[in-house]
């Protein structure tokens, strides 16, 4: 089935018999495994992109629509640190984590507690963070102009890594590893630290956590900071995965990140891993067999999952009563 569709786009040449059937079949198998392997690795990067967004949603029940813009800022930071100080992106990634956590705390206290007091904070958060996103984009454009910026590919090594017979860029492997480390660290934070335990308590019920005397605001502020740090780290790798960064890239990143976490399981940061991989693999399959329709995919995935299985994998009610 997939084979036929794959050839639809240039069926006319197939008819002319340019490609013999044997060769075609062989190539198709390569394409399929290549797409799946690349999809898994690419999906790991998207796990990193969505992880922070999901953490914030899980803890605060708000959607940070400026997540993609913080990612962009992480990329800009890495670009700036490299061009002015010659810092290696992996070093920048460490710096970005620290700085972004510290930036996250005041932003949280300025905005979120007040937002959560409103009648429909989940909805209003969309609009509020859209405003934040606009401000970030504007400041970046004013400061740096709107052209593409990037880091030299050689920083993470040039040339392919061959994984199960599929050629992948070295940078993909680096960011997949970074992503895996981030998921692990978030897991350890949530399940092996005191603050993490309190964070999980807030995720279960903010009101009850408040009633038991947990400093809900502090717990949430830290989660918010971690979320920005995760976005920032994803941003450091963005030039290597997405080619370049521009001030207006945030919106597209947000839609994809949201699709990833919805598919994974909203409010469950670790479910993001599953969402990322599903997204990565299906995107690569789309690129292989129906390339011009590839952008339809995150949108359809998102709608389909919300309608058919809104609770994701581990379940949380999102429909109206």
């Amino acid at each position: 089935m997939w084979r036929r569709r794959g050839w639809r786009a240039f069926a006319r040449h197939d008819d002319e018999g340019i490609l013999d059937d044997q060769g075609t079949l062989h190539d198709d198998t390569n394409m399929l495994t290549g797409a799946i392997i690349a999809g898994v690795v690419f999906g790991l990067y998207y796990t990193l992109v969505g992880l922070g967004l999901n953490l914030v949603f899980g803890v605060m029940r708000i959607v940070n629509l400026a997540h993609g813009d913080f990612l962009m800022l992480g990329g800009i930071a890495a670009w700036f640190l490299f061009t002015s100080l010659g810092l290696h992106p992996l070093v920048s990634a460490g710096l970005v984590v620290v700085v972004f956590v510290l930036i996250g705390l005041p932003i949280y206290y300025l905005v979120v507690p007040r937002l959560l007091r409103s009648r429909d904070s989940e909805m209003l958060s969309l609009i509020l963070f859209f405003g934040v996103s606009q401000m970030i984009e504007a400041v970046t454009t004013i400061g740096l102009g709107s052209t593409e910026r990037s880091l030299p590919p050689r920083l993470l090594g040039v040339g392919p890594v061959i994984l199960f017979g599929t050629r992948l860029p070295k940078a993909w492997i680096f960011s997949a590893i970074a992503s895996a480390v981030a998921v692990l660290l978030v897991y350890l934070y949530l399940y092996r630290t005191r603050l993490g335990t309190l964070t999980r308590a807030v995720m279960v019920s903010r009101d009850e956590a408040l009633a038991t005397g947990i400093d809900v605001n502090f717990v949430s502020a830290v989660a918010f900071g971690i979320s920005l740090a995760l976005a920032g780290v994803a941003g450091v790798f963005a030039p290597f995965i997405l080619g370049s960064i521009t001030p207006n890239m945030g919106v597209a990143i947000n839609i994809t990140a949201f699709a990833v976490i919805v598919v994974g399981t909203l409010g469950n940061p670790l479910g993001t891993l599953l969402g990322g991989i599903i997204y990565g693999v299906s995107l690569m399959l789309m690129q292989t067999y129906l390339s011009s329709w590839a952008n339809l995919l995150p949108n359809l995935l998102l709608i389909a999952v919300l309608l058919v299985r809104p609770e994701g994998i581990f379940g949380r009610k999102v429909r109206r009563a």
Binding site: A9, F10, H13, E16, I18, L19, D27, N30, M31, G34, A35, A38, G39, F42, E137, A138, T141, L144, G145, S146, T147, E148, R149, S150, P152, P153, R154, V158, G159, P160, T166, R167, L168, P169, K170, A171, W172, P239, F240, I241, L242, G243, S244, T246, P247, N248, A252, M284, Q287, T288, S291, S292, A294, N295
Partner: protein, 416 residues
């Protein structure tokens, strides 16, 4: 709010009336209206054009203004420019603003087809001639609309023909048999891809084994490159915007795949920008169009490429945000067309301007080559030779024109 807008409108109307009365005795200034996008997806093609156009305006005013034949003297230029922020809705309003409120004498469109598109019907409706900088959309140029002319890019349907000519000629001689075409699904690159497909099919010498569109927002090409490699084509043509080309060239280098002939639009047309983002080694050997920013045409009018590049670097030092490239040439070149139009037009009447612009067709030679219009206003003069990025010294690349032979200043090296 409304009253403020109204007051503004009245003010402008008064000003316009004033200038209309003064016209026989030459206006105090020639007003030129234009739009630019400082932010959003089109900023990267719009800002170089706008900056270059400003450069021309400043230079002209520094020399005492622009020569206007109708009044037999030099008149300073007043530039009215608004920021449409890449939004077509805003651009539409602003085109209207320039025509109906500011009563500009000459109207210059924003860059690219999307932001030009909304201006086309407005200009036609108000019988205002539109200097279309680089909006190549086929729908803009119709026989019944005399109020538009395309300044620089030739229309997308003829632009790429040297690619297929080269492959059918030297390519075939060296054993190139198959080609893969990967394009971004937008007006600009989509029409070029379709045109190329037509050329290859017409010539019947090189077979297309892969012809796929991807969304313009595509930012990773690893799997696409794997898929193309699996078909083992001799030549690969990737037609995309700047962001697509950056991602494609980086991924191509990372993948380690080698093709005998690889083409990308912006590797040449925005060489500096691409170089910053992908590095020299990923660009070595890549084919591209040779824009006027990398080819020295002998101009009859205005600065040549070297002088213009120097003037640009002086006004916009490298690293200030907007890179030198083909779009900068387009902006400056539009200024030169305006200059020659004013030097020949009988009056500032818009049909007279149309006549003057079309009168330049085939005669005007600038740093962008020969300016030549089809009778519907589409640009057909600007020749864009096929070029190849070849090493020059140790860590520099030079864009060498390799085809057609009469424009070539180097030899193409097709990979093994």
């Amino acid at each position: 709010m409304k009253s403020k807008a109204l007051a503004l409108g009245l003010l402008c109307a008064v000003a316009a009336a004033g200038s209309a009365n003064a016209q026989p005795a030459a206006p105090a200034a020639i007003t030129i209206g234009t739009l630019y996008a400082s932010s959003g997806p089109y900023a990267s093609i719009s800002m170089p054009v706008f900056d270059a156009f400003k450069l021309w305006v400043d230079q002209t005013n520094a020399a005492g203004g622009v020569e206007v034949k109708a009044f037999g003297k030099k008149i300073p230029i007043k530039l009215v420019a608004y920021d449409d922020q890449s939004s077509t809705a805003t651009a539409a309003t602003l085109y209207n603003q320039l025509i109906t409120q500011d009563h500009v004498d000459l109207l210059v469109a924003d860059s690219g087809s999307v932001l030009t598109s909304v201006g086309v019907p407005i200009a036609k409706e108000h019988k205002q001639f539109l200097f279309d900088v680089s909006g190549t959309g086929a729908a803009f140029f119709t026989k019944d609309n005399p109020y538009i002319a395309l300044m620089s890019d030739p229309v997308s349907t003829i632009w790429p023909h040297y690619i297929s000519d080269f492959l059918a000629d030297q390519g075939v001689k060296e054993g190139v048999k198959t080609v893969a075409i990967l394009y971004s699904t937008n007006d600009f690159t989509g029409t070029q891809a379709a045109a190329l497909k037509g050329f290859f099919e017409r010539d019947g010498k090189v077979k297309i084994v892969y012809y796929q569109g991807v969304p313009t927002t595509t930012s990773n090409y690893t799997v696409l490159i794997n898929n193309i490699a699996a078909l083992n084509p001799d030549a690969v043509l990737e037609l995309g915007y700047v962001g697509n080309d950056i991602a494609f060239l980086r991924n191509l280098q990372d993948s380690g795949e080698k093709f005998r002939f690889v083409f990308s639009i912006y590797a040449g047309t925005e060489k500096e920008e691409i170089e910053k983002n992908v590095g020299i080694s990923a660009m070595n050997g890549i084919y591209s169009y040779v824009p006027a920013s990398d080819y020295e045409y002998k101009p009859d009018v205005g600065m040549d490429q070297k002088a213009f590049h120097a003037a640009w670097d002086k006004k916009y030092p490298p690293g200030s945000g907007v890179a030198f490239g083909a779009n900068a040439i387009y902006g400056y070149m539009t200024g030169l067309v305006v200059q020659q139009t004013l030097a020949t037009t009988k009056s500032l009447d818009q049909m007279a301007i149309h006549d003057a612009v079309f009168g330049l067709s085939g005669k005007l030679k600038t740093l962008d080559g020969t300016f030549e219009l089809r009778d519907d206003g589409a640009q057909i003069g600007e020749v864009t030779p096929l070029g190849q990025l070849q090493p020059e010294g140790k860590d520099k690349l030079k864009l060498v024109a390799v085809y057609p032979p009469d424009l070539a200043n180097g030899k193409a090296i097709i990979g093994k």
